[in-house]
Amino acid sequence: MMWLADNAWVAVALPALFALLVALVGRADRLVAPLLGIGSAASVLLSGIAVLLTVAEGRTPAAATIRWLPSEEGILAIGWSADGLVGSMLVVVGFVSLMVMVYSAGYMAADEGRVRYYALLSLFLAAMSLVVVSDGLLGLFIGWELMGVCSYLLIGHWTIKPAAAAAAKKAFLVTRVGDVGLLAGIVLLWSHAGALDYESLAAVIDTLSPDILTTVALLLAVGAIGKSAQFPLHIWLPDAMEGPTPVSALIHAATMVAAGVFLIARTWPIYELAPLATYVLLGIGVATALGAALVACVQTDIKRVLAFSTISQLGFMFAALGAGYWGVAMFHLVTHAAFKSLLFLAAGSVIHSSGTQDLRKMGGLRKGMQFTFEAWTFGALALAGIFPTSGFFSKDKILYIVTSENLPAGALLFLTTAITAYYVARVTVLVFFGPRNSRKKPHETGLAMSIPPLILAIPAVGLGYLAKPSIELMAAEYVGFDLPVALIATGVALLGVAIGVFLHRSGPSADIAFERRLGGVWGWIQAGYRLDSVVQKSVSRPSLGLARAAYRHIDRDLVDRAVIGVGSTANFLGERLRRLQNGDTQWYISMGFIGLIVLYSLSVSWDRIHVWLTGGG
């Protein structure tokens, strides 16, 4: 166990190895691929536990670094290091992915691309572990990008669906924009600090100018915003639902989106010296939280509701980071990972059983899906922030610190809490209560798919009581329980729930009424404020148009034609010359004489021409 803690690289190497094994022998037996997948998740989980235990003992796990690229001007190395933050993150990633792997054994049992699926899932884990255990930004960036590609391939898992391909491409491209920002931050940091590992950085960071630090912090934040789906780079996430549901669970709960928050937590010393950047984080976090929650209220697709709720909850985390408490943000990340993966897996079961993702076609699923319903309820309560679930405690801390940092922002977050409770209640009622709208008889979906949500319910409910030890284990500043905030929060949440239940008790009719009454506004919100088409119109299409025009007018018409022009001019002159040579000997001889005279004149007057040309000098 201690060995595992001191060799955190194992959390990267084993999943990578398992991924390779899956690819090589996964086809041999139905069980091989899932088992190997579970193995890679377990190895990450074990590593995380080992690290946490070691840290709890008060010992720092060993770290090591290797020169990766030659460079005269600094250390360009990759390596690993571990502390409480890393350990917690590994545990979260390992635990959630373990559940996802088990769940997938049922969900993907009949899928033709199973082997590829498990291989990619393991590789995805390896990449996420690399992000976590890297001792510096270089390694982090490598894992970061690899994760992007794995998510691309997993979102596009069903290759025959054009929508999946488009969603996958969009996810990669949008996050790539953020990644370029991250890369710029890394490059800027490297050129000023001469190192990229956290330890060296911590040592020299005080010597850097505040301007540089702020720029670096903002650029790193761009990367985090892309990966963690914050406004305005969140547009990839709702579409990413095209992938298999377990993948959504993993991406939304523990891996992809968590990486952004983790990045900022890990590079916190920079943010501490860059107050401007934290304000930006706060602003973006609050705006995203509120905006996405509103959109979640009017979605008709169960997975899209969860997707926008993820964006919204990540907004809470960003707000916490912006308020200056990365430990709180991380704690919310942990609880969110538990309840959101639960919700996704439960939603997967619901979809599997009802054969639709459309909320309006569900209803009355409580009967026949008792386990799923119970698990969902725990998750929903946690998401809504109802006492005594984990979500209540983590959200309470965020509300408290944000309110004390900036009152208007805090107020907006309270509003968001109410809205969150409302849409949670709406979904729950629409799915599990009321009349049954689907002809398919609801049924449980087998052990592999029923057990993981139930297991996830344990942390989703209970983690709240571990707030103090887990934040302290991460060596972050702890924020105590605040009763007034808790009371108000609970009040608004209950209000939200009540409204949700009341409005939707009779099924989807309320939606239809709203839609009729609100008209365009409804559609506008439902389409995520049409940000997609704004981006389409203002970025994608103009750039494509520009590239096409450049190809046609610059590359072909200008550059290439200039080249061809030389040739055709020569051809033209050649043709003219050919006619000049008309076979007339007299003309030939005259030409010679003319030439002779010209040469003579040139020779005798050259001195004068020369003087004239050189200005008499």
Partner: protein
Amino acid sequence: MNVEAWWFVLSPVTIAFAGGVAALILDGWDRRVVAIVVTIISALVAAGASAWLASGSTSFVLADVLLIDPTIYAVWALIFGLSALSTLGGAVRMSRLPAGGGVSALVAFLSAGSALISASVDLLLIVILIEVLAVVGYGLTASIRTSGAKEAALKYFIQGSVATGLFVLGLALAFGLLGGSTEIAALGEGTAQAPVVALIVSLLILSAFALKLGAFPFHSWAPDVYQGAHPAGASLIVVVPKIGALSAMFLIAEVLMRPLEGSQTAPLQPTLLFSVLAIASIIFGNLGALRQSDFGRMLGYSAVAQAGYALIALAVGLITYPGAMLLMTVYGLAASTAFAVAGALRAGHSSWDGSIRGMSGLAASRPWLAASLAVSMLSLTGIPLFAGFWGKLSVFGLAAAEGFIFLTVAGVLGSVFSFAYYGAVIRTVYFDQPSDTRVPDTPTSPTEALTDTGVRYRALPGVASVVGAGVLVIIGVVPLFIGLTPLVRFFGIGG
């Protein structure tokens, strides 16, 4: 070597000349094939003798009109070697002509005359030799007896006469006004007294040579002659007199023009003169060759451009002499190879109309010929691994080293440009589908060609082209291992 008998010193010329006379006699008995073989052998022997003499280090002066040193012998070796190759290339067509042996004799005389011209230091002798060359060239061009050839011959003769006229005019001026001597060296001394006369004399004499060289604006005969003449004749007219003329031009430029350099009264700017001619020839030749559909005509225009490269050497000065001779020689070799291919195509009883398009599909039907053609085109362009590259490099390299960047740029750009038409030939031969005027499937390899008498005979031009291409490759590759110095030193002034 103490033997200074004139027959010994002039033995190569004598051998070649004797071969020609023998061929004439044999032709009289209608032994055409024997006559042709005799000229080829005598040319080869003459070339060997010259090469042997070139390895010595003595200079001879004969009767104050001929100055023969190892460099000249080296030039002679080339002239006679090329003469043998051209005769071989044109052998088949010659043998079909009623006076085929006579034609081969003309080739021998042409080479002997060219050899002598390169060694002349007396204007009077030069004018006589130029006239000899003009008459022989006329005969050669006309020998094929098609209307085109006759027209070409006439043009060649008229322009040759003009050249002679110019030369005689210059000679008269020189003799009368510059000190009463026809010796070139003596002329040099007279130039200081009468610069303007010297200028006119130089211009007149140089334009006569420029005409032989085919440089702009005295080039007009070249396309017609290249197109219309007998392959063997054309390759000789193209090649052999040009080497002689270039050599002589260097001599005249040095003697008549250089001494004035530096003096305040200098009216003459040889660098300027030759630069203008060089660039004009390069532009004119390249542009002219670009749109030609006839293979011979294309070669004719490209020859103007090649003359331009040689003029660069003249502009740079005597230091470029070896490079210029190398350039001209490898040009001649490549051009002869190309003409040999044309000869082979004509010899194959084909309906080939002489056009470049008509060569399409040659790569499939006669791969050896196609390969020889490709080698000669690449060499003419000046691509490394072929002889032409070293010729151009030794001229352009020195031009750059002497600070004539402008001329270097003109030269290399001209070379690049030339691939547009030289490359088009390769493209036609290798990449294009065979046209209607398809080349019939005659012998495909030299070895195969030698198995049957009838076929063997027709394959001779093909063999010549393959030999020429082989030499181009060997000259192109060997300097990589032994260095360029031996190649250039071969033409080194004064050994």
